[in-house]
């Protein structure tokens, strides 16, 4: 377990939490002010920054120790961080009056389907590893 939760994964998760908080702030403000374009811009900027975040720490993780499957571990952490922040956003009543928590639940439900598919892939990949390292990439 300790080998699966690495420093790079924790740093990635921390950045994800910060980005998600900023995203929710932008989203709620834009929705409150009925600024459709700002909502779209918020979503695009969040997606781009998350991609950079994943790419940066994922690459660092691979270069340090390529524990399989990096993609799934980062995906799971994004799922947990994003949805926890989103739910807490509603719990602490930071949301816009036009936002509905059901959207968060439905998004999480759809997302969890993809997460399960990714998990099945992760389990199949793990069969080709030795102590979570890819057999073909072990010796150079």
């Amino acid at each position: 377990m300790k080998t699966l939760i690495t420093t790079n994964l924790l740093k990635f998760t921390l950045v994800t939490i910060i980005l998600t908080i900023i995203f929710r702030m932008g989203l709620s403000t834009s929705i409150t002010n009925k600024m459709t374009i700002a909502v779209i811009i918020c979503a695009i900027v969040y997606a781009v920054l998350m991609w950079i975040n994943g790419n940066y720490f994922g690459r660092k993780e691979y270069e340090y120790l390529p524990i399989y499957d990096i993609g799934f571990r980062f995906h799971l952490s994004t799922f947990l961080a994003h949805n926890t922040v989103s739910i807490l956003w509603f719990v602490f009543a930071f949301e816009s009056k036009y936002e509905n928590i059901k959207v968060i639940y439905v998004t999480a439900l759809i997302w969890s389907v993809f997460l399960i598919i990714h998990f099945i892939y992760y389990l199949s990949v793990r069969k080709t590893t030795i102590k979570n390292l890819d057999k073909e990439d072990l010796f150079e």
């Binding site: 270069e63 340090y64 120790l65 390529p66 102590k131 390292l133 010796f139 150079e140």
Partner: protein, 120 residues
């Protein structure tokens, strides 16, 4: 025409041949005794007569993998200057792995038949 191709063919073959050799050289360096990364690099480059070159980053990455699968371990020892150095060594499993690898893949080159062919 054929003569001009020879250097390219040779380097292409060598490039393929060298892939996968770094592990063997690292293990040989550690079989020779405990070493820190600079010493491993120096050993590989001098003993391979500079045919194998390796970056320190690449060595660290490999050593982390070997450490993770318990074939290599390290102990911290004082260096001449600055912080402690990690001195790497082969674990019992690492030593056994190297012995088995040599037995199956290297020793066949020392058989009389192959030796004679190489000398021809």
């Amino acid at each position: 025409m054929t003569k001009n191709l020879l250097p390219d063919l040779l380097s292409s073959w060598e490039e393929t041949y060298k892939k996968g050799q770094l592990t063997l050289w690292i293990f040989l360096a550690l079989k020779d005794g405990q070493k820190y990364v600079d010493e491993i690099k120096e050993f590989i480059e001098s003993k391979s007569k500079n045919t194998i070159s390796c970056e320190e980053q690449s060595l660290y990455r490999n050593l982390r993998k070997y450490e993770h699968i318990d074939v290599v371990s390290f102990e911290n020892k004082k260096g001449n200057k600055g912080p402690d150095r990690k001195y790497y060594f082969l674990t019992e499993m690492g030593t056994e792995l190297l012995e088995k690898f040599i037995e199956r893949n290297i020793k066949l080159f020392f058989s009389n038949e192959i030796n004679n062919l190489l000398k021809k």
